[in-house]
């Protein structure tokens, strides 16, 4: 009941904040958001990892299952359940969500100066939905939360965003909504294909049945076609969220237009929904398809890394740069996931958390700079280090974190992914893919250094009719917290990596399928 408590409290907080006067909304919301934060940390402390929640021998912490309703198809019944719980994959993301929300709320105090109560209420609402996404283990329930994230996000971009916010918001909404529906079809084709092999929509049960090879035929598709079909639909659906090239174009628009705290949430948590889902669905439920098509998936990952980085290189807007680099960073995750090695999958999951922190940090910094200068264009300012030493210091630190500087979490994540994918026996010529993706670390250094040189260093010049001064403490403080977390995780990744490993390791074992669907023979 712990998770329900957090969910209910967050929802109640959101409603409370909606009703509160604008003046207090920010502080109130921040205060209230400490409760889910503390709650999730308590869960973490109390967490004893025990395998993957989706596998039969996995041990789900804080699980609670209540039947919701049953629906009947021709010959079988499916029970929808309220089914929540966490394992080593979801818990770090849950904590990431609560931490980033609180920090994002603090970082909203300065830039959000209109309709505060609505803003903070929506932020809390989004937190609620995100917590739901990472804790629910029933497909339909999960899908409710998954889609529910869109609504607050739409408003947050559309109301408090930049000049083209309406376009960006609707693009985000339509694009991701379409993707969700596609994914939904894919998932239900599988569920129908499973027929009475499952009696609930619990992830565990679906994964178990799929991994046990109980998929039958559906819609005229034999099992092997069906799983490929479903895999593709799921993959496309999630790729939009991640986003992977070529499904990424909503992201830069959304990011650039969104206000800072929303960008923080968008990059920090929302993108992780996609990779989280990929891990949960494509790579856990249909691992054999993923293995069979590993080269293609890895190639998409590498393409995202390099292409995203190249795009970032061409940008002039700091926020766009960070936005595109997110695409690049998420490409690594895909590469790690498809490697099917302990460090590959573990590193990918670690990268989700790490990138959440680092990109959150970067967006916050860019936001603080924007608050001070009212511009984000690289050409419009220079020498900010002169006026905002702390902010710039964090900018530099964050950028290096993004570049994968050792002893910061980004490095740990990336190197783990590289180690994992290099050794992958699933991807043919894995070293080539790995080396290709790794070149991203050079390009990322290129554009971030370039941006830093042009904006932070040199002689101070910004065209404003007021004096550019240092940022207030409440703008700086969340960034320090993030930086601290990044460094702590960079020095000791095992704080979360151990739990992650526990959860993803079982996924790497070759399947004990009765029949290999592709070769018709036995799997080794």
């Amino acid at each position: 009941m712990f998770i329900e408590g957090i969910l209910a409290f967050t929802l109640a907080s959101a409603l409370l904040v909606f009703g509160s006067p604008d003046r207090y909304a920010g502080k109130l919301a921040t205060g209230l958001s400490l409760v889910p934060l503390v709650g999730s940390v308590l869960m973490w402390l109390d967490f004893s990892s025990g395998g993957n929640a989706l596998l039969a021998d996995g041990n789900v912490a804080f699980q609670n299952t209540v039947d919701w309703f049953t629906f009947t198809f021709d010959s079988f019944e499916l029970t929808l359940q309220w089914n929540v719980g966490v394992d080593g994959v979801s818990l770090p993301l849950l904590v990431l969500t609560t931490v980033l929300t609180t920090l994002a709320l603090v970082s909203s105090w300065t830039p959000i100066d209109a309709r505060q109560s609505q803003f903070y209420g929506l932020m809390l609402l989004m937190e609620m939905a995100l917590i739901g996404v990472f804790t629910t283990l029933d497909f339909l329930l999960w899908f409710v939360f998954w889609e529910a994230v869109l609504i607050p996000m739409y408003f947050l971009i559309a109301i408090w965003g930049g000049p083209r916010r309406k376009y960006a918001a609707i693009k985000f909404l339509l694009y991701t909504n379409l993707a969700s529906l596609i994914m939904f079809i894919g998932m239900f084709s599988l569920i129908f294909g499973l027929g009475d092999a499952i009696s609930t929509l619990s992830f565990t049960e679906i994964a178990g049945a799929l991994r046990a090879g109980e998929l039958g035929s559906f819609a005229g598709m034999e099992a092997e076609t069906l799983r490929l079909f479903a895999f593709v639909l799921l993959f496309v659906g999630f790729a939009v969220k991640v986003p992977l090239v070529p499904f990424h174009t909503w992201l830069p628009d959304a990011h650039v237009q969104a206000p800072t705290p929303v960008s923080v949430m968008l990059a920090g948590v929302l993108l992780k929904m996609g990779t989280y889902a990929l891990l949960r669905f494509n790579f856990t439920m249909l691992p054999d398809v993923a293995r069979e098509n590993a080269e293609i998936i890895a190639a998409i990952g590498v393409l995202s890394v390099i292409y995203g980085a190249l795009l970032a290189l061409a940008q002039r807007d700091l926020k766009r740069i960070v936005a595109y680099s997110s695409i690049s960073s998420m490409g690594y995750v895909i590469l790690g996931l498809v490697a099917f090695t302990p460090h590959g999958m573990g590193g990918a999951t670690f990268q989700m958390v790490s990138h959440g922190l680092i990109s959150g940090l970067m967006f916050m910094v860019v936001g603080v700079i924007y608050n001070a200068t009212h511009t984000r264009m690289v050409g419009d300012m220079s020498g900010l280090a002169d006026r905002m030493p702390w902010t710039v210091g964090i900018f530099v630190a964050g950028s290096f974190g993004y570049m994968g500087l050792p002893l910061m979490s980004g490095f740990a994540a990336e190197v783990l992914i590289f180690i994992g994918s290099f050794q992958s026996t699933v991807i043919g010529n894995a070293p080539l893919f790995t080396a290709g993706a790794m070149f991203g670390i050079v390009i990322v250094a290129g554009y971030l250094l370039w941006a830093m040189q042009r904006t932070l260093f040199g002689e101070f010049s910004v065209e404003t009719d007021y004096e550019v001064g240092t940022a207030p403490v409440h703008d700086i403080a969340p960034m320090f917290v993030l930086l601290g977390l990044i460094i702590v995780l960079g020095i000791q990744p095992d704080i979360i990596y151990e739990a992650i490993q526990n959860a993803v390791n079982p996924l790497n074992d070759p399947l004990t399928l009765a029949v290999d669907f592709f070769t018709g023979g036995e799997l080794q």
Binding site: T249, L311, H343, A385, P406, A445, G446, L449, M452, N508
Partner: protein
């Protein structure tokens, strides 16, 4: 006696503590944090010396895993941090902490006394650098080495860009980081490959990847490793070795990634002394030494190293000839000297390389600090043609600088002579026995000796001799004790440091007097070091399954004499050209060659072109494709929908008769379709 190894971690951690302290409280500390840095580096120096002493007295090599970075959870590779302190590391620790200590002292004069702002940042970065460098040195595995290697790069970035308000330093800092990052990319691939191949990246211990690799190749042992792409074992080892070499080439500023180093001179001069001469640049070379047993397995890799080294030594020297700024000359000289070390490593001269690393650290740090003193005196004017006649006006600087120059030029009996001789000798010895590539390297190296002496003394003459050519040179600013002291210490050292390995005259003093060689061969001066010893490396080098080098025994005297003669020729040339009160700029006579050299063979332009001429347009093209292509499809879908919507909307004409007609048509259509399909009537 207390076991020094109980707190050997502190060698690096104390500077780290200093970093944190200075970062948080720097502005309120005496001398803006300098004292803290001096104390920390002094402490590190003391411990390092103690470690050296301990090892020399027969202490065991220290090798401990200390910290689990990532537990492999029994299925994946386990990543650990650990310390490996063997004679090589101990020596390097001493060098680093010594130079760091002296540079901190020097900074008191160079930075504090000049009233620079941002000293907190400066000292914090210096401390961080010291920490990273020391940690790099005693890393016990390749991954940890890589991590600190990168951190060192960060510090270099921060320190080069110290004067961020100007345009030059940030740009140089960016370039430095980017170019080395390019090398590090290959390094990281190498690290990952090592982990993927051997499952471990440890340098030492029974299951170090070096030993594993040896065992795989050595027919008398059995070992296993993964290979990729169907390559043979030795070929794959070569690939890995070359990948790691990418990092080395970048960090040690070897051709073609040397371009960042001269630019890095935009940083404060003490930083140049510490980072871009004595220590960080040495990290690359040190890395090859650290895993020399691995490189020794691959003749191809060795040849490439030798070739790169020799070529760089010569190539950089040519550019140093024409430079007008004091620090530029020194920068190219640094590149050139590291070329020697690479040459030695490629040529099988492990000891020679370490030796040259040591002496070079001392005399190049000295030269940079001396240059720093001159720059202060000249109010930050670095152009040598604006100097002249400083000899009498700043004698301490002059004499120490002269010692350093003599060492650099390789003049007997200064430190540089011995080490450079060792480098050339060992390369020649191996080259003569059927390794033509080494001979090519040797040729480059020998030619570079002449050039080295020539540019060094061109520099000395232009700076200190003759008549002052500007008013500042007429009346230079005096420098304080805090700058002189490091100069004197280093001056003395560069005169006498050669004594640790007087290889050229070993026939007279006997093998036992080659202290460095013995140091590297055994953990004590008479013990055994196992796989990390120079002897073992030699053994591997000469094994058929590995490099298969052979040694042609020749007397070291001959090549020594040759090197000295070559150096003297260069020196003589410099004397002939630039002596006198009003030296003429002879290098202009080189005409277009000079232009080429001044422009560094247009390599910078090439690299800039790679970045802005090739990558940037590519990125813009990608961006354009993204905006119009991919996003065009997305937005196009929207537009088409809108257009369709508009069309559909117009169906509703508002005239009810039309509705009735359309309704009827719909009905008739349905009827027709069904009538045809259902076969009515």
């Amino acid at each position: 006696m207390v076991d020094v190894f109980n707190f050997v971690e502190a060698i690096a951690l104390v500077p780290l503590a200093s970093f944190v302290l200075v970062l948080l409280l720097g502005d309120r500390m005496p001398k803006k944090g300098a004292i803290s840095g001096i104390a920390a580096t002094g402490f590190s120096l003391a411990i390092s010396l103690w470690v050296v002493l301990d090892l020399a007295m027969g202490g065991e090599v220290y090798h401990e895993e200390l910290f689990t970075f990532v537990a492999g959870d029994d299925v994946g590779v386990e990543l650990m941090f650990g310390l490996l302190i063997d004679p090589l590391a101990a020596l390097m620790l001493t060098i680093v902490s010594l130079i760091a200590f002296l540079v901190h002292l020097f900074s008191l004069g160079y930075m504090n006394d000049e009233g620079e702002i941002g000293l907190r940042r400066y000292y914090a970065s210096l401390s961080l650098f010291t920490f990273s460098m020391l940690a790099f040195v005693y890393s016990n595995n390749l991954l940890m080495a890589f991590m600190f290697f990168e951190l060192v790069g960060l510090c270099s970035f921060l320190l080069i860009g110290f004067w961020f308000r100007d345009d030059g330093p940030p740009s140089a800092a960016k370039k430095a980081f980017l170019v080395t990052r390019f090398g590090d990319y290959f390094f990281l691939v190498g690290v990952v490959a090592v982990l993927g191949t051997f499952g471990t990246a440890a340098f030492a211990g029974e299951h170090s990847f070096i030993i594993e690799a040896t065992h795989v190749l050595d027919p008398s042992h059995s070992g296993e490793m993964n290979t990729f792409f169907g390559l043979g074992e030795q070929a794959w080892i070569t690939v890995i070795a070359l990948l790691v070499l990418g990092g080395v080439v970048g960090k040690s500023a070897q051709f073609p990634l040397h371009t960042w180093l001269p630019d890095a001179m935009e940083g404060p001069t003490p930083v140049s002394a510490l980072i871009h001469a004595a220590t960080m640049v040495a990290a690359g070379v040190y890395l090859v030494m650290r895993m020399y047993g691995f490189y020794a397995l691959s003749p191809t890799a060795l040849s490439i190293i030798a070739l790169i080294g020799g070529f760089t030594a010569f190539f950089a020297a040519t550019m140093a000839l024409v430079k007008q700024e004091l620090k530029q000359v020194l920068a190219y000289s640094t590149v050139s000297q590291y070329g020697y070390m690479m040459l030695a490593l490629g040529g099988g001269g492990y000891v020679g390389a370490v030796f040259h690393l040591t002496t070079h650290a001392i005399f190049k740090a000295l030269l940079f600090l001396g240059a720093g003193a001159v720059i202060i005196a000249m109010h930050h004017n670095e152009n040598m043609w604006d100097m002249g006649g400083l000899k009498s006006r700043m004698p301490v600087t002059y004499w120490t600088f002269l010692f350093g120059s003599l060492a650099l030029a390789g003049i007997f009996p200064f430190a540089g002579f011995w080490s450079k001789d060792e480098v050339l000798l060992e390369t020649l010895q191996h080259g003569l026995s059927g390794e033509p590539i080494l001979l090519v390297g040797y040729g480059f190296g020998a030619a570079a000796v002449v050039l080295t002496a020539l540019y060094t003394f061109r520099m000395v003459f232009l700076t200190f001799h003759g008549d002052p050519r500007t008013e500042t040179a007429e009346d230079p600013e005096p420098i304080g004790w805090n700058m002189k002291f490091p100069l004197v210490v280093l001056g003395v050292l560069s005169a006498v440091a050669g004594v640790i390995n007087l290889g050229a005259i070993k026939e007279f003093i006997g093998e036992d007097a080659l202290f460095l060689k013995k140091w590297l061969e055994g953990k004590t001066l008479d013990g055994e070091l196992g796989s990390l010893s120079a002897k073992e490396y030699h053994h591997i080098l000469e094994s058929d399954y590995a490099a298969g080098y052979e040694v042609t025994e020749i007397s070291p005297l001959g090549p020594g004499a040759l090197a000295l003669v070559l150096a003297l020729i260069g020196l003589g040339g410099a004397v002939a050209l630039y002596r006198g009160s009003e030296p003429t700029p002879h290098m202009t006579k080189l005409g277009r060659v000079r232009t080429l050299l001044m422009n560094n063979y247009y390599l910078d332009e090439f690299q800039v072109w790679l970045a802005t001429g090739l990558t940037a347009p590519l990125a813009r093209a990608a961006n354009k494709f993204d905006q119009s292509g991919i996003d065009g499809v997305v937005n196009g879908t929207g537009s088409v929908s809108m257009f369709t919507g508009q069309r559909f909307r117009k169906i509703q004409t508002g005239i009810v008769t039309n509705y009735a007609a359309l309704l009827t048509m719909g009905l008739v259509l349905l009827l027709l379709v069904f009538a045809l399909m259902g076969g009515w009537f």
